[in-house]
Symmetry: C2
Subunit: 213 residues, 2 copies
């Protein structure tokens, strides 16, 4: 009674799904869309996210409202700067001192194996990293503006400040320095020194986010 089963792929609405409820559904869908656009706008702002505290942890990147890009380490735009970064264990040039982090830019590594044509988890560096890469540029801009950068740490981080599980919001950091450096293989990488911001340290007990458990 809910539907007339279509034989030709056509769906015929019945009494229960009359015009009024269709309008309702359209309205709901519209509201969801607007709500989403508001949330997305939040993701593209600097500083803390309302309702999220330093130390909050989620089981996957997808659930984490602090760093709203699915696979990238850097979320930012080359014009406005960097909103957030994820510290994980892809780039061996990272150094994690807790309140100070040396972070590596993106690009220049060969993720695709030309022989097999497959994507690799990690690969050799084959090009210089460039400031023109929008991720690298966004952190460079943040050094100029001084805007805070949200930092999450992955459980995969090779450092004693890594969470035991999931992805943890570790508060706001500031990009203090940005430079290029030549690695032992002769290619250049972008590097950044970030330091936890005073503002972030004054909120609740930031150490709970950084103590090795």
């Amino acid at each position: 009674m809910l539907t007339v089963l279509p034989t030709d792929g056509t769906i015929t609405a019945t009494a229960e799904c009359a015009a009024s409820s269709i309008a309702e559904i359209q309205k709901e869908e519209q509201e969801r869309k607007q709500r989403n656009e508001r949330l997305l706008k939040f993701a593209k702002t600097f500083g803390s996210i309302p309702g999220v505290e330093v130390g909050d942890t989620w089981s996957s990147r997808a659930e984490c409202p602090v760093h709203r890009v699915p696979m990238q380490g850097i979320h930012g735009s080359k014009d406005d700067g960097c909103y957030s970064i994820a510290i994980s264990n892809l780039y061996k040039y990272d150094s994690d001192f807790g309140e100070t982090v040396i972070y590596t830019g993106s690009g220049g590594f060969e993720h695709y194996d030309p022989k097999s044509g497959k994507r690799r988890r990690t690969g050799p560096q084959v090009r210089d990293q460039q400031w023109s890469d929008f991720g690298n540029m966004s952190l460079y801009v943040s050094r100029e503006t001084g805007n805070p950068v949200r930092v999450i740490r992955s459980w995969k981080t090779v450092s004693k400040y890594a969470p035991a599980f999931g992805y943890r919001y570790d508060g706001l950091y500031t990009v203090k320095d940005a430079w290029k450096e030549q690695t032992e293989n002769g290619f250049k990488i972008c590097r950044y020194r970030l330091e936890v911001s005073k503002a972030s340290r004054l909120v609740s007990c930031p150490m709970k986010a950084r103590i090795f458990l």
Copy 2:
């Protein structure tokens, strides 16, 4: 006063972050981990997810609790069968009749361009699809077991049953048929016919999920 700023990378907990609160944090982290494991177990069950209704829509795949894989179309295991699928617009062999769906297996398409070494959104078929692919196998097994498969439709679906926005849970379907077919390019693909299950149609108003808005 919250921490002693480390010069050697060592964090020293101070009075505010004493042993008792560290134990608390460990406990919290443990609880989060257990909660997550429960949720993951939920994702690997057949049938509807508690609290999710047919027609519910989310703005991104990541937020959708019904299909808990980030990029794959099929979530399943080759032993237990398929938990859920996503209908989108990657495979041109899909046919969407609303209550009946012809779905294509995965694999066999060349997503990597050997010339540029880059990943492509879509590519030519270069191999037969195989039942041994765990995604394809899982749907094959579901045809045997008759277990329900959760279906979400993407806004990218090329069909009048696509949602106007986001990813929509369209209820439970059953795999009625599974076969291999040769495409015009000479390679074989796995195909499946899924039909909406009676059980799903009796819950709320399933039509609201399938009416073209």
